[in-house]
Symmetry: C2
Subunit: 305 residues, 2 copies
């Protein structure tokens, strides 16, 4: 039952500074990073909003990968803008400026093709919007979602209502602790799973990811890179690889989610090798398959002699 | 070529406070935690010093595991004492008090049995002492060592001299970065390996461990525990499991070091489940073997379909 992958999230114009350089007014946003990664695996349908200032032509690389951009609405005003800085600890972004702009009035309306997508990813947006998306979809095989501290603190009730309908929650370590109000991640995942999601994937940046499902735990490392450049979009590339692989295989069993997490980790590792979309844009599937094999080598040990 | 395992390090009296309780005047120290873990695998010979106040009878559990304590000297004065506190982030100890006491004059003298041990672990002590130990040993199959920020900052030259003779360096993430003066761990391990050690194991607490050797990298997760109690000695238990397994198998090839790291991770995971030596003391080998299998399940994913 493989098939299309719907993503609803943000498209942005980012200005980013890291110890390795800076990038002014680059395209970005959760839905774009997700799509750039997922489109190497599956047919992606993107729903988001841009302003009048967005360089639409820069999305040619997504069209080449057959991403359906018919749900990318253009609204009067400026595009969502984010300005941030990373220090040597690339796990922590320091937000310098956020301007929601057209994103403030974003109210996703799905077309018939969007509604029928069997795989749905709700990127990090207002949980009320996430809920309204779920009201519009037919009966997907898998609904996954991301969230962030801003919603966990500010719209907890709405978030919990959305979570009841989510199969797989993908969030980072600090967010998991905050959401569950529990510092221990094993117990935090139990709390979160009691609210609806059958599976919880906890992203830990350079330390990899944990997947909790049904009493089983899977630990995936991050790929140890010699040169990291810009972590912007790493979490969304991770989710894109994960969901893209699930959509392409049509298999949502825990064993396949494990493989999908490794593909997600591979995509995140490529993403951080260069600024903005430079690496994902020139990335080919054979390179991804090769990195998947490197993950196998990275984690392999023989059973006891 | 399996055989005895010599450890030279500290034996201490610790007072520890964590969010889960406190322990006053408990036995501790790097050499003890190492021995408690390693003795489930191999014949351990311990060289260390205690003061007049040390409850020697409390080491009965090590004697039951045939740890050779003939190298545990008793000196006039008080035992090395450490007092520390952990917050909810159990990765970071806050040292409240350190009293070197008899440890200040520690100058290890090896007996004939100690000198012949084919596996040697230099726990975290003054690099000049580590060097003097290496002057006394015959030709071991493997020399491994630990160190810490205090020596990296204060006795860098002596440490580098010792490292020339070390095969496997085991240290934590922050120490690796400080020693190599390089924030990226892949590059830091290359720098360290250029100074002598063929292999470098980087401990990352609850995030597991990385092993660098000859262009290959191995990533092992930490075991996700539902209840952590006291992280004191986790790094030394890790090293004990690692070295104990290598000594018991007599195989120092990288593939076997990977397995050994998983055994080390297993021992660290048991150690933190209770205060002081309570968990290691009642631990049995079948439990260790079972946790090794759980690590296999924790990290397993099938190659691409």
């Amino acid at each position: 039952m493989s098939g299309d992958l719907l993503v609803v999230g943000s498209v942005a114009i980012d200005s980013v500074e890291t110890p390795f350089g800076r990038e002014e007014d680059a395209i970005g946003g959760s839905a774009l990073y997700f799509s750039a990664a997922a489109s190497l695996f599956a047919r992606v349908r993107l729903v988001a909003v841009i302003g009048e200032d967005f360089p639409r032509a820069s999305l040619g690389f997504l069209e080449e990968r057959e991403v359906d951009l018919s749900g990318l609405a253009r609204a009067p005003g400026r595009t969502f803008r984010w300005k941030g800085r990373y220090g040597f600890d690339l796990n922590d972004a320091q937000t310098l400026e956020t301007h929601l702009n057209v994103f403030e009035e974003f109210d996703p309306v799905l077309g018939p093709e969007h509604r029928r997508a069997p795989f749905v990813f709700l990127a990090n947006i207002d949980p009320d919007l996430q809920y309204r998306v779920l009201d519009q979809v037919d009966d997907p095989a898998l609904i996954a979602a991301d969230t962030m501290n801003f919603w966990i603190e500010g719209k907890r009730k709405a978030l919990l209502r959305t979570l009841e309908r989510v199969d797989l929650l993908v969030l980072n370590e600090a967010e998991a602790r905050m959401l569950a109000d529990e510092p221990n991640l094993v117990r935090a995942s139990q709390v979160i799973r009691s609210w609806g999601p059958k599976g919880v994937v906890i992203k830990r940046g350079e330390y990899g990811a944990l997947y909790f499902c049904d009493g089983h735990i899977f630990a995936a490392p991050a790929y140890p890179l010699e040169a990291l450049c810009d972590p912007t979009g790493a979490g969304d590339s991770f989710a894109g690889g994960l969901m893209g692989y699930l959509a392409s295989t049509g298999n949502v069993e825990p064993d396949n989610v494990r493989r999908a997490i490794v593909f997600g980790s591979a995509m995140a590792s490529f993403n951080v090798e260069d600024f903005s979309f430079r690496r994902l844009q020139r990335l080919t599937y054979p390179e991804v398959a090769e990195r998947f094999r490197q993950f196998k080598a990275l984690t392999h040990f023989e059973a006891e002699m």
